[in-house]
């Protein structure tokens, strides 16, 4: 763990620890009440989930077409973070929905696309873990296809749902953002940076270990 990672992690941890007081100080939202405060974790996690997915897809494309070997490590690191932030998004979302809309899960375009994107990255990780030799290129193809798929999933789920009568339970998300929200976004972003660089470092070390074993075999 580098010093920068430690500072980032400590700062993010401290910010997340004081976050409840900052969020508590924010004005009480009149129609949704207390449960609206879940939003302060939900939205940053969702943003970083998408960011991680985009990084994984882009790095995979660079690995496949640009033949950059170290890009594979970044893709794997970003994919793992996509799963981590994705599970936070997918769990905090229903907790909010339960109170706000009265049900745990809605087959709404945004929710369903998030779930499928998350599943794509879980599949990616399963492949990288159990796929054996050659799974790095295969995984890169999977991440690339997964990212290209997002608009299709969104459009198809949107039409599938909106052509049915029982939708429109999802409120429009707030446009204006307050200080507490930016506080949480910053904390999550710091955490994301630290974790991404640590995870990519782990992958570089794995490559190094492999090289060392190879050198030992040759010697």
């Amino acid at each position: 763990m580098s010093t920068l990672n430690k500072i980032e992690l400590a700062l993010a941890g401290a910010m997340l620890a004081v976050a409840p007081w900052i969020i508590d100080a924010a004005p009480y939202e009149s129609t949704m009440g207390l449960v609206q405060k879940i939003f302060y974790f939900h939205m940053p996690a969702a943003w970083l989930f998408l960011l991680a997915a985009i990084i994984a897809g882009t790095a995979s494309a660079m690995f496949l077409f640009g033949k950059k070997r170290d890009m594979d490590g970044w893709a794997l690191a970003a994919a793992e973070l996509a799963v981590v932030f994705g599970i936070i998004t997918l769990v905090t979302g229903p907790l909010w929905a339960r109170k706000a809309w009265g049900i745990w899960w809605v087959w709404d375009a945004r929710l369903t696309s998030s779930l499928i994107l998350w599943m794509i990255f879980v599949a990616y990780l399963l492949l990288r873990r159990y796929g054996g030799p050659g799974s790095d290129k295969l995984g890169a193809g999977m991440a690339l296809f997964g990212l290209a798929n997002v608009p299709f999933i969104f459009v198809s789920v949107n039409v599938w749902r909106t052509l049915h009568p029982q939708t429109s339970v999802v409120p429009t998300l707030p446009v204006q953002m307050g200080g507490p929200l930016w506080f949480c976004i910053t904390a999550f972003f710091l955490l994301f940076l630290a974790l991404l660089s640590m995870r990519a470092r782990l992958e570089r070390q794995r490559v190094r270990i492999e090289d060392l074993y190879l050198a030992e075999d040759e010697a």
Binding site: E29, V84, K99, P171, G178, L190, L202, R208
Partner: protein, 86 residues
């Protein structure tokens, strides 16, 4: 890349408290009204908020712990391999 990140962290350490103090409070009329759930379906909101916050912590701490352990293992393996080479 690394320099940019260090710069970002430093700027945050210096600038954030000031920015936070100056930040105007958001107005409360940002949401469209919710649909009323039947009363027997209601769960106290505080439980849900606490569950969400707790879940974030569990996932983050768990992930950092596993990542730290994996890094440590890799580092000790590299050290052992390099010692054997010498």
């Amino acid at each position: 890349m690394r320099f940019c990140r260090a710069l970002f962290v430093t700027a945050l350490l210096i600038g954030a408290p000031a920015a936070l103090a100056a930040q105007p409070q958001p107005s409360a009329d940002e949401f469209v009204p919710m649909e009323e759930a039947p009363p027997e379906e209601q769960i106290p909101a505080i439980n849900l908020v606490a569950a969400a916050y707790g879940f974030v912590w569990i996932v983050v701490v768990g992930y950092v712990w596993s990542l730290g352990r994996r890094l440590q293992k890799a580092e000790s393996e590299i050290a052992a391999l390099e010692q054997r080479r010498r």
